[in-house]
């Protein structure tokens, strides 16, 4: 595996990148343990958060249960309930924070499917919540429409508009294991996961915005026999790829919103001090493991704010020395602190 950075010449994977990818990969070894928080301090601005997320993503690809397919029908039912009971009756410009309706994002009631790329179907008010039976309207032209009662198996092909498809059976959008496997020797990638989305891993972008987060990742280009791939594409954040599955959710710290209505992610990788502090205070991430990546060349006030936050956690957390000592040798210039919640 070769890489280039800022259009420089191609080189073998550098120790600092290898370490960060392996750090992300090794994070979820003990899935059922108490919550952990890590702070990774870098000597300069870098794509470290993206690399850690990439490692964690490869790890998730090895778990057969790491997909959004299970429970998708229930998710569509919840979405239908939100649309029919709340959003369709709301006459305000959508701002869930101000309205305090309990939802994080507006439900438009429209679903999409890779099987019908140019169409949407609309949640029907005939949906039976007590019977757990979703119904939608499929239009064919202006006049004709059909009320569809899908089986759960068929519903997997439909997903909420503006969100990634939960399953992708087209040949052009599935992930290639040849790209991900070389990052971790011996990673046993579960083949079914390569065409299934997953929302259990989240990257919280930079405070400067999603464009800045994507740009820093796009500067790292990996190449092997399978082709050349930017880190931004490898992460499969929904807005960063043209189509296909998405196995990393994106949290925008400026708007405080995720790119999808999803269950609580098991891990959030925060890029930058402001993002780290924002995620740390977000109620929806209080159960998620948190890995913050900061650079030491920010203003002193910002570093002190992060330090104060880490100190405040010491009331309930201990240093996770077991994990710290189990890490591969940390490259000179990177420092890491890991906290584990007391049980």
């Amino acid at each position: 595996m070769l890489f280039s950075e800022h259009d420089s010449e191609k080189k073998p994977l550098q120790p600092w990148m290898d370490f960060l990818i392996k750090f992300g990969y090794g994070w979820r070894c003990k899935a059922a343990g108490p919550r952990r928080i890590a702070l990774v301090s870098m000597p300069c601005d870098s794509a470290a958060a993206g690399l850690i997320a990439l490692g964690a993503m490869v790890r998730d690809l090895t778990f057969s249960e790491a997909n959004d397919v299970d429970g998708h029908y229930d998710k569509l039912l919840r979405y239908a309930r939100q649309y029919l009971k709340s959003c369709s009756r709301c006459d305000a410009v959508c701002d869930p924070v101000k309205k305090q309706c309990g939802y994080s994002k507006q439900a438009t009631g429209r679903l999409r499917s890779p099987l019908l790329p140019r169409q949407t179907v609309e949640i029907s008010d005939k949906t039976d919540f007590e019977g757990g039976q979703i119904k939608w309207i499929q239009r064919d032209g202006r006049r004709n429409h059909a009320l569809v009662t899908p089986f759960p198996e068929h519903a997997k092909n439909y997903h909420v508009e503006d969100e990634p498809p939960v399953i992708w059976n087209q040949p052009d959008g599935e992930l290639l294991s040849d790209i991900y496997r070389p990052f971790i020797a011996g990673a046993d990638i579960h083949p079914a996961n390569l065409h299934r989305s997953y929302s259990g891993l989240c990257i919280a972008g930079r405070a400067a915005g999603e464009v800045a987060s994507r740009e820093v990742c796009s500067r790292i280009i990996f190449s092997n026999g399978a082709g050349e791939f930017g880190l931004d594409k490898l992460l499969t954040v929904h807005e960063w790829v043209d189509c296909g599955v998405s196995r990393v959710a994106y949290f925008n710290p400026r708007t405080g919103r995720m790119d999808r209505n999803a269950a609580v992610p098991h891990m959030v990788v925060a890029d930058g001090d402001a993002s780290f502090l924002k995620v740390a205070d977000c109620p929806e991430f209080q159960q998620s493991d948190l890995v913050g990546v900061i650079q030491r060349t920010v203003e002193r006030d910002s570093l002190e704010a992060v330090g104060a936050k880490m100190t405040s956690w010491r009331q309930w957390y201990d240093f996770d020395e077991e994990m710290l000592y189990g890490l591969p040798p940390v490259p000179r210039g990177i420092s890491i602190s890991i906290l584990r919640r007391r049980t």
């Binding site: 950075e5 800022h6 420089s8 080189k11 550098q14 120790p15 600092w16 870098m42 000597p43 300069c44 601005d45 870098s46 794509a47 470290a48 650079q295 060349t297 920010v298 203003e299 002193r300 490259p331 000179r332 210039g333």
Partner: protein, 189 residues
Amino acid sequence: MSATTTQIFDFLSGHPEYSMERIEIATPGFSMLRRGLRAVILRLREEAAGHEGNELAYRLRASLFEWLTVPVPFDGAIFEAVKILGDQELVGRKWGTDVRAAYVMVCDGAQAVQQEENPARIQLRDVIRELRSRNRTFKIYSHRRARPHFSSLFVAPGEPALLESDFLSSVREYREAETFDTLLKMGPL
């Protein structure tokens, strides 16, 4: 363009140790000036010295801080700066004989330092020449307004002048700088 992450890690792995060299400089004239000025400032910062005294103490303190952290030439400008207190007789009548005695020491010191070049300038010039001769890259950490004083160290023909890129004045400039071997800083650590 700033250094890439890989360049920075390569640089760090190539420099497993770092050292800090501290050069202390002393000159009798400046010691006299500094001691006297400290005594005046301490006295004028007291509440009893009034608003005018406090204001003067603040200005003298700013001047002293500049002389300690910037390679200023020891010329008439120093004497001008301390003369803001006015006539020695007047100082004695306004703030007492102890302030007057300290003020006399300040004026003597300000005149004494003009007899020779600021030793900090000589030292900095030597250090930079040595770094250049060894092809060591360096940056000077200074306030933006202090740059002309550093630049004035190399005005002789045939000697390369200091460039704007040789200075660091903010975290942002540090962030965007290429890697370098030595950081020069004048003043307290």
